[in-house]
Subunit: 142 residues, 2 copies
Amino acid sequence: MRAQKSKLTFLLMTLTIFSFGQGVKKDKSDSGAQEMMIRIAAIEVDSNYLNEYLDILKGETEASVKLEPGVVCIYPMFQKEHPTYIRLLEIYTNKEAYETHLTTSHFKYYKETTLKMVKSLKLIDMEAIDAETMPGIFTKLN
Amino acid sequence: MRAQKSKLTFLLMTLTIFSFGQGVKKDKSDSGAQEMMIRIAAIEVDSNYLNEYLDILKGETEASVKLEPGVVCIYPMFQKEHPTYIRLLEIYTNKEAYETHLTTSHFKYYKETTLKMVKSLKLIDMEAIDAETMPGIFTKLN
């Protein structure tokens, strides 16, 4: 529990520093700025492979966030009532960051090894509603 | 753009401080600890009311995050191809925090004023896949 808190604190601090250095472009009126790419991936996994799939997904998510500056976050979840229904909230700094992501070895490994495990995949492009105030998830004010 | 970056940085710093003070309970083995509540709200809004609905939603989201310590994040989005399809990623520190949220005046105002604007509402309970490493969205390591 304590270790988890420390880890969260560390991650938040690092993310804060990251936001100083790179910023997150979201303002359409800023000439030359490219829009953040926000997406929900809706995946259904074959129940025979669920544990194996989750292990590979965790590895892929961790590598993406750790190694790719353009991956702002990947937040993987499953539905409590249907654990084979996976949902990922993915945020990339821009479209190029996403295209780079597709060429990485960790993504390719994930894609190839989980191909037979995935029953369906739907990629849903999203837009943040309150982009003016914030990139969205970092909203805790007190 | 610069103002946005500053605001993001401020929010992240505040969230970092918050994580020192309160922590986010996720470890089931920690006796007495209660599990974070994670949910996706899937809402379809009557297109006649879309702008009005979004204004009220923004106000509600901002008030929740600002005034309620138990609201870790509310991340509102819409589908690019179907702007009336709203999705919220909601994270509360625990079930009690969510129940408190339901009693607040800003939530009640939102609920009452948008009742006629909402065509459908589905609340989907989620669980973070990588709860061990992190509460999930704060994953930027470098």
